[in-house]
Symmetry: C2
Subunit: 425 residues, 2 copies
């Protein structure tokens, strides 16, 4: 079967997946854990194969690191699934019940989105996490992992699929796309796929966004800012900036641009430059800072650059308003932070900055589904339509309106024979 | 200024619109009512001009009817705005407050989407309703109405804009695009426009969806079904089917296809054919029905046709499962109804049919923001991402995550020095 045929069959079966009981979806997840535990040898052998091929193909060190599936990563994945099992079921939750008129009741009820296509990077743990979130939320999923993990993913998928089927989930609940050219086939499935979640490099995500009619949830860029206000606490500012830059430099929620209030620079910069030297962070900055602290002068495009490296752009600003405008203009609407002791300035910044995450006095690296208490995430969305920020279970749900009547027709209300009374129950 | 420049300026000012007080937004709406009341002569004179030009251009009767702005329509619009003023403000509503750890608090808070582009049909009342919903929800809006209403819209827009500015809303809160070729310019504004809401013919909406990178909310088709189950009440079925077909035949929520359980046909069809004759409704049906009730035989494509006319396709089905599969395959995920006295069959149908509205025993014509008690609607969405069904104020909001800390860094949690405790407050 082609991806298109498979997706069409999945689409028609997706209501069957939606109405599976929470119990059987949780049972499937428990079975996944059992399968993973019992087949470790097979999983790690497949992973060795991927690693050997990666070495032959001279895959970069950073990718190799993500590719390697360790005992520790397996245990983390298993703990994640166990947490997911414990999370309450959100499928078919009533968001409101409204009597429109006597005997005519409107119910707004959550339901799974349907068919979700996920294209993700070469990380074996991603396969398990994403499949688990889709199972828990009652969605069907087409999964396409990075080709460097093909042996590991094949084993993992077959274990997950077996666990799902044994727990009574419908046979079209999960499907693995294994070939690279299947991505373009998947992008054309707008008749059957309700939502695409691409993860990977900026260029890759942008390519997906530009080449499909399917709604896409995710982010291309993660250009995060920290603004140090004039009323800041130095003891908080330095560790936050260092953590946001160095704790995982290649992450989308790492900081890329530092904005400094002109009255904060003299207190902040000397200490910060010491820390930058210690952590080997290079700086390019607006002319005033560059001259005083001996670094290169930032060009306009530097403020639009996501370095994903030990690099940072910096700039002084006259006011918090200027900082907000800079962030809204150059940022990627991902996560931006203000360092200030002034509550009102913080509130102004957090309301005015048009980003999924707006922080006061903490590291931008907190932008993550696990750290938000969502159990897991399928990705982080910088879109403003539907889900925003880290996307957990709720982002995989939509809702429908159910209207229960006993023969009501609109003409009676249009002609004034009857009137609505709108009473929320 | 070009639309692109105007949209970019609006985008940068959209946070200013978002943080206006509920009071000033309501004041603006009250001022709109005042302006409309005081300038009736000017409005109706402009409308006469549009009507005269429409007559010269031989505009179809149906469009002329929508175009004509009567005293009655003006009063309905004013009542709508007054209801909108009374609705509670939903901007900056906390959806949850979660302590991640001591002194680290995550707040999920609603906020306006930002810049909304609305392209709507030649109806003067649409201009006022849409602008009012955007004002109430704190969104900036670019409004493009049908060119046949250009004189009326020009007057209405200037009255609304004046009311908004006098109430202290930012000068870039509303913008009117007046020329037809400005639509393609607007479609290219993905850097500045957060959401597009097109209204109009199926072909027009489909064109918009295919030609922009901006998220689009709305619907192209409205192919609604009524399924008459074997356990149905004839007294309810006939008026519901007639209302759903005739109450406003050209509406998206009118019924187009009738599915009849094989054991319901003998009881339903004779009475229904009488009613069809009375209301001059033509039928094309599956061979069994066509032969027995002397109508044309439906081809496969008839079940994929939105007639928007006094026409109906009909088909017998063996089971409710077959009805569900037919609807999910041929339908447009708009609104579909089951007529049954059996609660379990109803619940099965309503869970399994993958549509924004799933009804039991009432007309599909109830799919409407006003009838759902939303006060007004900007449109009806058949998408499953973000808003679904009639879209009122809540569909014009998104949310952001605000994280309040006092120096927290991620490394402390990554190394196990600190742990999250996730407590919802």
């Amino acid at each position: 079967m082609t991806i298109k045929e498979q997706a069409a069959a999945m689409k028609l079966d997706s209501p069957l997946m939606a109405v599976t009981s929470a119990q059987s979806r949780n049972q499937a997840l428990t079975n996944v854990v059992k399968q993973l535990n019992e087949n470790q040898a097979q999983i790690f052998a497949a992973n060795e194969q991927d690693l050997a091929e990666a070495q032959t193909n001279h895959i970069p060190e950073a990718v190799m690191k993500r590719l390697k599936f360790t005992q520790q990563k397996l245990q983390a994945v298993i703990e994640g699934i166990e947490k997911l099992v414990e999370l309450p079921d959100k499928v078919f939750e009533k968001q409101f019940v409204r009597e429109l008129d006597k005997g005519l009741t409107l119910v707004k009820e959550t339901c799974p989105i349907g068919v979700i296509g996920v294209i993700f990077e070469a990380r074996p743990d991603a396969m398990v996490q994403i499949a688990s979130l889709c199972i828990k939320s009652g969605n069907c999923a087409i999964l396409k992992g990075g080709s460097e993990t093909k042996h590991t993913n094949k084993v993992l998928f077959s274990l997950i699929y077996q666990a799902a089927i044994e727990s009574g989930l419908p046979k079209n609940c999960l499907f693995q796309a294994q070939l690279r050219d299947e991505i373009s086939e998947l992008l054309a499935c707008h008749a059957s796929v309700d939502l695409l979640i691409p993860r990977g490099s900026n260029a890759f995500v942008q390519y997906i966004m530009d080449n499909t009619k399917i709604p896409v949830m995710g982010h291309a860029d993660g250009l995060c800012h920290i603004y140090v206000d004039k009323e800041f606490d130095l003891e908080k500012a330095i560790p936050i900036i260092i953590d946001a830059k160095t704790q995982y430099t290649a992450a989308c929620n790492a900081v890329e641009t530092l904005l400094v209030h002109k009255d904060a620079a003299d207190k902040l910069m000397p200490k910060l430059m010491e820390a930058f030297e210690e952590y080997q962070i290079s700086l390019c900055a607006s002319r005033d800072l560059a001259e005083q602290y001996h670094c290169s002068v930032a060009k306009d495009e530097d403020f639009a650059t996501e370095y994903l490296d030990l690099m940072l752009s910096a700039k002084t600003v006259e006011t918090v308003e200027e900082a907000v405008y800079h962030i809204n203009q150059y940022g990627s609407h991902h996560t931006d932070c203000i360092i200030t002791e002034n509550k009102e300035t913080a509130e102004y910044f957090m309301r005015m900055v048009d980003s999924a995450g707006v922080y006061q006095n903490c590291s931008t690296r907190f932008a993550d589904g696990f750290r938000y208490g969502f159990g897991a995430e399928v990705g982080i969305s910088t879109g403003k339509i539907h889900a925003r920020g880290p996307v957990g279970l709720e982002g995989l749900l939509t809702y429908k309106y159910k209207l229960y009547g006993n023969g009501q027709i609109v003409d009676d209300y249009a002609t004034g024979k009857k009137t609505f009374h709108f009473r929320d129950l």
